[in-house]
Subunit: 88 residues, 5 copies
């Protein structure tokens, strides 16, 4: 998984029907060599803009959503506690 | 998923039979560290050249197409709304 | 998928039995940030050295070969038409 | 797999229920071009901060945990012996 | 798949039980942009240090081992013939 900060929502009116009702957000990777990378992630645990989160990719993202047929490859799996310090 | 701009169609007369009738396009990643990366993507939601799209990769792409046996690893899953601002 | 140019054959006499008879080639990615990356790919559509091809990776490669148990992770899925112009 | 050093624990009180009780740690890749990359990994073999470990990603991580439905994509699969020298 | 040179063995006494008896080695990618990258790979075809090999990743590695439940994501699938010239 990677650590990232949620920077915004992203809206797509025309999309896969299976994505209807699924919140998509823009996340910016915040640690290590990939810092600054932007990923579109699904969120079902009510994370908000500015939250630092753990993101899982690939099949793990579909397990997070609980439906392996939804066409996503990245999802928030946890919100990092405020007091948790991350390396740069 | 990643955000990308569709830059062109791509044509392959000789290909896997299972790709017959499937529209393939060239997409350029537009945000974050991967900006400028070129990906070949399948599209079934009638996206056009110039559209900004969300692309899912790996097994998610096959879920998007609705046939897990088609040999693709990237697909358009949504067209980003015009008013949506993306980070650079 | 990525666009690549087939640059050579690659030979491995000692290999997985399930790879017997499967043509393996060296491909060089030709567009975007990954240009210059070298991938070993399986080919079952009679592509040749010098051909520009579309390469699928991961499970998609095994779908292309038609046997999900063959231990490959990249395969040619189409030969790009000569008149097709690619970005740099 | 990649070689990495465990640098810290990471805490997420709000997370997928299926992650409850699973220890998550921050790992820094220590060899080759990816050195310095930070990954969030699951650990079930009691590795500790400072340990050099082998990390498997993707579906392999879920096999390590023994539950393919847990939404993780990286896990410690072994602790590298102290006397083992690694390249830089 | 990628081309790599096996540079050393790697030992992990504490590891997943399912890895017992499986030879793990350090491989250095030798062609293209990823040259210099270090990967930990499983080997069941008796490759040795110094051998140039083809490495498959992800689910392909588990197919190579013949047990999709072993938590590995990279394996040697072939030893490149000595007379085979590789690009730099």
């Amino acid at each position: 998984m990677v650590t990232a900060k949620l920077v915004d929502n992203i809206w797509a009116t025309r999309k896969s029907e299976s994505l209807n009702g699924l919140k998509l957000m823009l996340a910016e990777v915040i640690c290590g060599k990939r810092a600054g990378d932007i990923i579109v992630v699904a969120d079902i645990i009510s994370a908000g803009i500015g939250d630092r989160v753990i993101i899982a990719t690939g099949g793990a993202a579909r397990r997070m959503i609980g439906d392996v047929n939804v066409p996503i490859d990245a999802a928030v799996v946890g919100i990092i506690d405020d007091e948790c310090q991350l390396p740069e």
